[in-house]
């Protein structure tokens, strides 16, 4: 096991960040999914030894992470928030940190890491001039420069444009293919799905689900999905959509119809044809359940 947490607790004053979390993480890529404030970052910071747990036990690579420099150099951490020596160049930053982590030839390690994250072109520019995507790559570069066994990535794709996102996903998968274990957190399910099949879901400090992505998806899909369609002919549209049992509840409001469906994928696939048949002009489609908070709430209740 890479990480073994047993009834892990963490509180900040009266606020409980982690509540009796028992979780084992094995080799490969594991996703840690949860909305903002769920406790993901708190868990990751305890895993890497930056923060001390308030209760329970945690072992990483068989050792306690707190105040353990010998273990710390076996881990690579990519934090969520930016924290750089802005006056340094990217190359200097990665090289300095590699040396602090005991790498003999910091410059060579930095060169390799920077090439791996495709930051070579801007490596000799000051970090203060870097874009969001470059900063994310730089954080990844410093995390891998000292060749750690275990990577902990806190929301590595947040704020990145789709192209950078794809490149970072490919990079992370490449690192895992080299034999590194990776624990990556996100609040976006499809980001995690692009990286791994194994996920743990946290919500309000609790572990609410753990397992294969397909199992979690099935759990989510069992929960009826609410959709609001703003249209000029709500009743006609509702009649078409309700005809084959994909809709379990309908409610009308001025200029719109609210529908609940247990099969959202099939529903969305049918919607354009139904609108055409009904002669309805669809102005807007929205879903309060598209936010992860609603999903996590459901998982917690389940």
């Amino acid at each position: 096991m890479i990480v073994r947490a047993e009834r892990l607790n963490k509180w900040y004053g009266r606020v409980i960040a982690l509540n009796e979390v028992t979780l084992s993480i094995g080799p490969g890529i594991t996703g840690l999914l949860g909305p903002n404030g769920a406790g993901k970052t708190s868990f990751l910071r305890i895993v890497i030894g930056l923060m001390r747990e308030s209760g329970g036990e945690i072992r990483v690579l068989g050792e306690r992470p707190w105040n353990n420099p010998g273990l710390a150099v076996r881990i690579g951490y990519c934090p969520e928030h930016d924290g750089f020596y802005e006056w340094m160049t990217g190359r200097e930053f990665v090289a300095a940190l590699a040396r602090i982590r005991g790498v003999r030839d910091g410059r060579a390690a930095a060169r390799e890491a920077i090439e791996a994250v495709r930051l070579s072109e801007v490596a000799d520019r000051r970090i203060a001039t870097y874009s969001r995507g470059m900063r994310q790559r730089l954080k990844l570069a410093q995390a891998v420069a000292h060749r750690p066994e275990f990577l902990v990535l806190d929301e590595p794709l947040t704020g990145c444009d789709p192209i950078v996102r794809q490149e970072l996903i490919a990079l992370i998968r490449g690192l895992a293919a080299e034999g590194k274990s990776v624990l990556v957190s996100s609040h976006v399910l499809h980001e995690i799905e692009a990286l791994t099949r194994t996920i743990a879901v946290v919500h309000r400090g609790r572990l609410v689900a753990e397992g294969e992505v397909s199992e979690i998806r099935a759990l989510i899909d069992r929960h009826p999905h609410t959709v609001k369609v703003r249209t000029d002919r709500p009743r006609e549209l509702a009649a078409r959509l309700a005809s084959d049992g994909d809709v379990v509840e309908i409610r009308f409001e001025d200029g719109a119809v609210w529908l609940r469906t247990p099969r959202p994928d099939a529903f969305y696939a049918k919607l354009p044809a139904a609108a055409l048949e009904a002669g309805a002009a669809v102005e807007e489609i929205s879903s309060p359940d598209d936010n992860l908070e609603a999903v996590f709430r459901y998982l917690t209740e389940a």
């Binding site: 923060m51 105040n67 420099p69 802005e86 910091g106």
Partner: protein, 263 residues
């Protein structure tokens, strides 16, 4: 580990010269020379050596040492936690107590070097006044030694404040309150406790190194207490420096680095 420590010392040194702190430090370090220049050129009865002694006694050792130590002490602790760079440092090969030790040592040395330059400029500026000037290398050297001692005591104390208190504001407040009250006020009070301030102990060192043991007009404020002797002051300041350093190391080892999400 030695290699990692050396690399970290280099990083600390580079950090000192960069960022927002450098201009503030430059102003603090140049101010005594400016004050000396003004006194030497505009003061009617100012004598060169007297100008130098007054500026060093009241400003360099009274304010500058503490302000410099607060600026860098808080930045090295609370500042690095706040800006997120501490996470990278604490995930290295060095244990936290050693990180604090290296930071304190490198910073104290660097600041002492800068104070030497500041005092040299002050001595040169004072020399523009009439009369016998300070004994350049001896007096500047002696004052640097005393100021360096003050930095060695104050810097770890302020680092400890930055590591114990959760926010930079809390750290600055915890640093400023004892400094303002104890060092700046109590130092001049006619009470026995005044002998225990760092400032009066530094002045005890200065009395021997600069004034050859002869307390002149600058020491007229001393009432109802005795300025500590050279040995007493050395022991007291060494103990304080050691205590504060151990406190800072312990605080670093015990400090959970909570992210911005914890607030």
């Amino acid at each position: 580990m030695l290699r990692a420590a050396a690399a970290f010392a280099g990083l600390t040194l580079r950090s000192l010269a960069s960022g927002k702190r450098a201009p503030a430090a430059a102003i603090l370090l140049l101010l005594p020379a400016v004050l000396a220049l003004l006194a030497a050129t505009l003061g009617r009865k100012a004598e060169a050596a007297t100008v130098f002694h007054h500026v060093v006694f009241h400003y360099s050792l009274g304010f500058m040492v503490y302000l410099l130590s607060i600026v860098y002490g808080i930045a090295l602790s609370s500042g690095e936690i706040e800006d997120g760079t501490v996470g990278y440092l604490y995930l290295g090969r060095l244990p936290r107590w050693l990180i604090v030790g290296v930071q304190a040592g490198v910073t104290a040395l660097a600041l002492t070097g800068l104070v030497f330059l500041s005092l040299l400029l002050t001595a040169l500026a004072s020399g523009l006044a009439p009369g016998e000037g300070p004994r350049l290398w001896r007096d500047v050297g002696a004052c640097t030694l005393v100021a360096g001692t003050g930095i060695l005591v104050a810097l770890p104390f302020y680092m400890a404040c930055g590591l114990v208190f959760r926010t930079p504001i809390g750290a600055v407040a915890s640093a400023l309150v004892p400094t303002l009250f104890w060092e700046l006020l109590v130092t001049g009070w006619p009470i026995q406790f005044a002998a225990w301030t760092v400032t009066n102990n530094l002045r005890g060192l200065l009395l021997v190194l600069l004034f050859d043991g002869r307390p002149g007009p600058l020491y007229k404020y001393v009432k109802n207490f005795r300025i500590p002797g050279y040995e007493e002051a050395s022991i007291y300041l060494s103990v304080l420096a050691g205590l504060f350093l151990v406190l800072a190391m312990a605080a670093a080892s015990a400090r959970s680095i909570e992210g911005k999400e914890a607030r």
